[in-house]
Symmetry: C2
Subunit: 344 residues, 2 copies
């Protein structure tokens, strides 16, 4: 692996770094995986001074820590010929979302690498391998501030998340034909982590970090999901440089149709939905609002598309469609969409 320098990410993506042959088109999802480059790094972040880092004698109470950085794990395939994809997870989850499915099948991280896309999987700021700031908690434990100053973190209960993930109308009911591998749900629930979203400044530090990453990659497609659905749009509103497209999977929100749509007109946009949305009071209005955004964007001269997977022959998709039993088929369909709509 080479040092990370200004040009190598794009160079690796565009040229491919020869050697062993790519898997044949017939067996994209089988056989060895040939990686030109892999590794991880951070984007964004800043140093803060804190007087509330520790109540333990072994560790100093005061000093500097880095916060708000975004962890990025990347893989560039040997036969990289397509635009880099940045995978952004949703609520209460981490980059694990895009790795192996709960029932142990290939995740989208690997699937897209096998199809020639460099992939960049992030942990949102203050989650997973992206550090949260513990100061507010330690300060309250020390009696130096009131309990109301504790960060507004939350965990999503499995019973409540059931309907949000649209496994069924309510726990433990299941939509007929729903394709999430519920037999492996115990492994899935282990993916969930406490969510610090509401304890973060505005804009969420993940947004400028995504912009920095896209610019570093000189043309990336931001692929968001659920809570992070709006992030690529917010990133484009901040700065469109480096953005080659947006794929918002079951976004918690699209921009409003009445918003300034200019930032979204210069790039292909896909809003992608699974099944059973009309039976989910939480999701049906969001799909409708996204449809209005897509129509308004196209009227304004943009190139946006909304696809419900059941309409393209892939019924039964849950909210966690990148982990559904037919996740490889859905991923292959998305790779085809990217091929058709995003310039190489």
């Amino acid at each position: 692996m080479k040092k990370i320098t200004a040009g190598w990410l794009l160079a690796a993506a565009v040229l491919g770094l020869g050697g062993c042959a790519a898997p044949s088109a017939k067996n994209l999802d089988e056989g060895p995986l040939s990686i030109a480059q892999q590794g991880s790094f951070f984007v964004g972040g800043r140093n803060v001074n804190s007087n509330n880092l520790s109540l333990l004698p072994a560790y100093a109470p005061a000093g500097t820590i880095a916060v708000e950085q975004m962890y990025v794990h990347y893989q560039v395939p040997v036969d990289a010929v397509r635009r880099p994809l940045v995978f952004i997870h949703g609520c209460c989850l981490t980059g694990k979302t895009w790795e192996s499915t709960p029932d142990g099948r290939m995740g989208w991280d690997e699937l897209f690498v096998r199809r020639g896309f460099p992939t960049y999987v992030i942990d949102q700021a203050s989650r997973g391998r992206s550090a949260a700031d513990p100061s507010a908690i330690i300060q309250v434990k020390a009696g130096k501030a009131g309990p109301e100053t504790l960060p507004q973190i939350f965990g999503a209960a499995q019973e409540g998340a059931w309907a949000i993930f649209r496994f069924g109308p309510k726990y433990p009911e299941v939509f007929p034909g729903m394709q999430f591998p519920l037999e492996a749900q115990a492994e899935f629930w282990k993916q969930m982590v406490p969510d610090w979203l509401n304890a973060l400044p505005t804009p969420n530090p993940t947004i400028p970090a995504l912009s920095e990453l896209a610019q570093k990659l000189k043309g990336a497609v931001l692929v968001s999901h659920s809570q992070s659905g709006i992030y690529p749009f917010q990133t484009a509103a901040l700065d469109t440089r480096g953005m080659a497209g947006i794929v918002a999977i079951e976004p918690g929100a699209c921009p409003a149709a009445t918003d300034d749509l200019k930032p979204y007109l210069g790039m292909p946009i896909l809003v992608l939905w699974g099944d059973f949305v009309d039976q989910a009071p939480r999701w049906a209005p969001r799909l409708k609002a996204c449809r209005e955004f897509v129509a308004a964007t196209n009227r304004a001269g943009g190139k946006a598309e909304m696809v419900v997977l059941a309409d393209v022959g892939l019924p039964g998709a849950s909210h966690m469609l990148m982990q559904d039993k037919h996740s490889l088929k859905i991923g292959a369909w998305l790779a085809g969409w990217l091929d058709k709509n995003i310039s190489r």
Copy 2:
């Protein structure tokens, strides 16, 4: 990628899953990386009921969450002919420790894959992608419990960590010849996360999870560092099944020479130290105690070894020696030690 079933991990490790040729011995650290299997999963964990998951209207306050699971990311090279290595990070860090170095060079995760070792990189329980339980924090914020019940978490300040990582005797002094890439220290500090160690039950849930992982791998070498230095020994004391060896890198502690040494007699053990230890009051006594443990283990019929890297021609190593400027040389030396001492 195949489904994770009982036998495949070992099968993949022992047989290698043919295909594209492995890099030649001359250029182990260059050229494409050929991966037979990669992905991630969790080990351990249990469901708990909580009434303190959320104070937000959008998320239910009560329900079930999974806690104490251990995240594992793995890669099996095409030419896997050696025992799997389980990489266990130290205090205030995550599995990121073993990935790309702060100055963007190859991490040990990749280095050992290139040398034919399947690698399993974990996040300790309640850290990184292994979820912590937020209930105690939310309960205090809700006014249902006193601040003293908050978890004993801590962050390590950069200034205090400086001497612990042995970049120098004290911040910002540098030991002459010290090899950590300080020019990239800003990137390094972003690796650090709040540490929940003291908020966890005894034994730390990471220990039984490591045992479960080793047994699943049917013969793994546990490679620990710093705070986790003692974990492989604690794992062996719990159950030696599945353990093919121990490499403790700059352990916070070795077992006492007066402990029951039986669990440690059936496997090769290496305790590895960097440089400047005699100039570090925090570390010098720990090295001495480990030397006594190694001697006692050998007297009892075991096969333990302690190596100070300066004594094998690799001076200048910091506490973060897997990220030092000569980290690839140190890794190559360790691969040689494993080859000589651990049966394939």
